[in-house]
Amino acid sequence: MNNPQDNRNRYRRIWDWFWRPTTQFSVGFTLISGFLIGILFWGGFHWTIEASNTEDFCVSCHSMETNLGEYRQTVHYYNHSGVRAVCSDCHVPKEWQHKIKAKAIAVKDVFYELIGSIDTTEKYEARRIDMAKIVWKKMRANDSRECRNCHAFEYMDFTIQEPRASSEHQRGIDEGLTCIDCHQGVAHKLPSNWLEEYEKLKNPVSASNFGSLWMMALANKPAHESDVVGSLEK
């Protein structure tokens, strides 16, 4: 049986050895070996980050099966050109600082998977709106950054878009909207109360009047400023 005193002495010896000046190695040897080990570690770290960006990795958790099934029915999975957007294309930023931040935050997903927060259909549906709101909020804050990795107004040819799409995209530019303001649920199903919840997220003050504005939109009536003001006054 190990004596605690022996263990302490062992750790002390390792600590002293770690900080002992090198006498066997030249400065050049130490620098070159440190450089090579640095490359190996950095390469390994980057490889691991990229490995965690693959679709196989994302859907390896049981609770992601629902997500996967829904995504496979969308244009981002199956389309005429064969170009796909996998999970990480929409959920992981490309820029280093945002990517590392997203990866650190994603540790919570592992925790929730382990405690089974969404491991049944009932639990998943109960939390669907909360999960959606987290993504909507994030995308509104960063101007739908991940959408814009592939889609950009600057490179859209409005003349070959459907009339409704081109007019809505023009409206998006004019009103400073961001992609997620109109394109919710492009990869996953929307919860039943999504519209109300999204409007609360977008404009908490006037959320109670949103019903009348939405009816205007359904009636294909442009919601001009006067209409909006009128609706709010009612």
Binding site: Q97, I100, K101, A104
Partner: protein, 85 residues
């Protein structure tokens, strides 16, 4: 909370953490190491915002400076402990 932890981790693995530690190892003056680390934090915020001051978030800037200062000081302590010069 997650936002803060994520930003903290992002900075630790980015310029303030790595360069701050490296610069900190170049001096035995603890305060100087902290100042250099903090400057690296400011520099990182500027670089990643494309030098647009309006795009720098208060939280991001604060945390990157904080991480830079801590990393610089740790680097300085490594220098003090592990070098004779």
């Amino acid at each position: 909370m997650l936002e803060i932890l994520g930003t903290f981790a992002g900075n630790a693995l980015s310029l303030p953490g790595i360069l701050g530690l490296g610069f900190g190892m170049m001096t035995r003056q603890l305060y100087l190491a902290g100042v250099i680390g903090g400057l690296v934090g400011i520099l990182e915020s500027l670089i990643f915002s494309g030098f647009h001051l309006a795009e720098i978030g208060t939280l991001e800037l604060t945390l990157s400076v904080l991480v830079g200062i801590v990393a610089g000081m740790i680097g300085c302590m490594i220098r003090r402990k592990g070098a004779t010069v």
